[in-house]
Assembly symmetry: C2
Homo-oligomer: 241 residues x 2
DNA sequence: ACCTGAACACCGTTCAAGT
DNA sequence: ACCTGAACACCGTTCAAGT
């Protein structure tokens, strides 16, 4: 589909001066990921990306159909890294399928926690996101080893993927104006929420008061893993029946 | 916090002619929800909302701080309806806590499936979304009845909420250009994905081929409930230990 | 084949001014 | 207290033109 083009990779950038900028789909996505990491989805504008690549805002449209595809492909390129990281998991088919499933899910989650913008665009459109499709496939292969029906396999795999990206997206967007302005840290923001919760009427909000101390000191990764284990326990149970 | 204002509610709108438009926070949110239902989050612009309310684009800023808060409050106003619908669930404390939990979760999910835009803004900021907080509280109260530790309660409730809105958001955004253009129906879009999946190499994508027939005929609500039951099975198990 | 520059239509937000 | 109108700064996308 895409032909080889002499991009900025492979040889020193100072070999020849050029009046016109020259990109590649890899360079475009790498630049997009850089901007996303620095300033989130809101910061990824056509003009900001073009400026980083050293060209005009219209040049990007040669590589992607628009901003939406750009975000999808940028997210998927990051998931390619996750795929590499878990390449060996479950390949021999010897270990516990559920443990392997857990390893892959945790790797995905960690990637999204590191990059809060990723949650909203990961695994959105398998038609254009190859790595997303391959991660879905890989998790599904572990589920297949449990000897369930195709319908059960489909439901279980979709549930795990939904839980991973849902939880991660939720945690990633928990900081509203904090990220943008940078005026308040995550700890300060959570502290503010905790203070508000403590001020609620205990008769009306018994549960909130029951867990607020835990919430105040909680770690997102622990919280995710605890939920994932509930889901996997349920899956193991249905595999035993 | 907000004082009573004579809005368009309560009496006929033709009682007195007025040169200036007159809103209320309720009217603003109702208008926002209408637009969101018709054309999604992308369609909710300041100008479109102002036009529907019959005023200038700046008038909205008297009621909300900006577009972000508008979306949060519009989403939360819909969740208020869910809260009313499940008002009686679990109140007597007699039924099975997990069955009650399930009822609430399904009600939430159904509301988001009916309104795909809702997934991205539900339960985002409990500081400004009262109904989201109250739904979280209500689900948590059912979990509390299982006799777990506060930490376990926190983890379980968060997991269920994360699964509900994560899965719902995922399903809500599955139609990229279809919603916007209206040129393709959901069935056609899914059919296209199915055809693509069938064309994949079976040696490389055994799982996809294993489930594609199920995917082709699947129902989102069934899929959600199956996943939710896995999670609830796991929770029941941890309550028995 | 790939990039440029300028333009178009549109958007969120602000603000002085009105009532 | 609440709304208006116009303006500002910015954005995604297009397109004729260049190389």
């Amino acid at each position: 589909m895409t032909e080889e083009r002499p991009g900025p990779r492979g040889r020193g950038p100072a070999l020849q001066r050029r009046a016109r900028a020259s990109h590649s789909i890899e360079a475009v996505l790498a630049g997009a990921v850089e901007i996303l990491d620095e300033s989130g989805a809101q910061g990824l504008t056509t003009r900001a990306l073009a400026a980083r690549l050293g060209g005009g805002p219209a040049s990007i449209y040669w590589y992607v159909s628009g901003r939406d595809e750009l975000l999808d492909l940028a997210a998927d390129s990051v998931l390619g890294g996750v795929l590499v990281a878990v390449a060996g998991v479950g390949e021999d088919g010897a270990g516990d399928p559920i443990a392997d499933l857990r390893t892959i899910a945790v790797a995905m989650f960690d990637a999204i926690v590191d990059r809060p913008w990723l949650g909203a665009y990961a695994m959105r459109d398998t038609g254009r996101q190859v790595h997303s499709l391959q991660l879905y496939e890989k998790m599904g292969e572990q589920v297949m080893r449990l000897g369930l029906t195709p319908t059960q396999c489909f439901h279980a795999t979709s549930a795990i993927v939904g839980f991973v990206i849902g939880t991660a997206a939720d945690m990633g967007q928990q900081l509203p104006a904090a990220v943008a302005s940078g005026s308040v840290t995550r700890a300060e923001y959570l502290g503010g929420a905790v203070a508000e919760w403590r001020r609620l009427d205990p008769a009306e909000y018994p549960f909130i008061h029951h867990i607020v101390d835990e919430f105040a000191v909680h770690d997102d990764r622990d919280q995710f893993r605890a939920g994932l284990d509930l889901l996997l326990d349920g899956l193991r149970l249905s595999a035993q029946r």
